[in-house]
């Protein structure tokens, strides 16, 4: 099964933004969220507002995940890790899986939520960018 999308483009920058459905496994509440496919990110990093939308109370999560980016500001970034269900869908096709997401209010204002290696890239057999075709695709054997 393959999902194929066009890049979002600003100036000459082709940006692989992807819509994923996120569901609170305990309550069934869900929405869709647009985030950046980022193989440089270890994990999925979502805005904490999304947790509130699907009924996850981050105050009740005791664990904390610390992470860093490329900047050298000395600022420690952190978020609350949580298991949710993610689903990619297109037309009549879908692929859903349980996933670890770090919810944080520290996503930079000029940036995006991230779909990273753990629990996103590793849930597909292949994720490929085709710049001449202005597209990227996600493939899963089923």
């Amino acid at each position: 099964m393959q999902f194929k999308y066009k890049f979002h483009q600003v100036n000459h920058d082709k940006i692989p933004l992807l819509d994923v459905q996120i569901t609170n496994k305990e309550t069934g509440q869900s929405t869709q969220y647009r985030a950046l496919l980022d193989s440089g990110a270890y994990a999925n990093i979502f805005h904490s507002d999304i947790a509130e939308i699907i009924g996850i109370d981050l105050e009740k999560i005791k664990g904390k995940q610390v992470f860093s980016g490329v900047e050298d500001s000395g600022r420690k970034l952190s978020g609350k890790p949580c298991f949710v269900e993610l689903m990619v869908k297109q037309g009549g096709k879908s692929h859903r899986f349980d996933a670890f997401v770090i919810f944080t209010d520290q996503v930079v204002d000029s940036g995006y939520g991230l779909l990273g290696r753990q629990f996103f890239f590793d849930r597909f057999d292949e994720i490929a960018f085709n710049f001449p075709d202005n597209s990227f695709c996600l493939r899963i054997e089923k």
């Binding site: 459905q21 969220y33 509130e52 490329v70 000029s110 939520g113």
Partner: protein
């Protein structure tokens, strides 16, 4: 709406997007308000997107 136009018009805000036609259904600083407004318009699971305040090449 293109991402470039979205940044110009809604930079720094949350938007709810209709998955069927990519139209922006609502915009606000509050994700919750944006979500509820989209649901009032009949879209149960809109696409929520925090629009970057400005375009900067993103490295991360």
């Amino acid at each position: 709406m293109t991402l470039a136009n979205m940044i110009k018009k809604f930079g720094g805000e949350w938007v709810a997007i209709n998955p069927d036609d990519e139209k922006v259904l609502s915009n606000n600083k509050s994700a919750k308000k944006v979500f509820k407004e989209a649901q009032k318009k009949g879209i149960i699971a809109p696409i929520l997107f925090k629009v970057p305040t400005k375009y900067l090449p993103f490295i991360g």
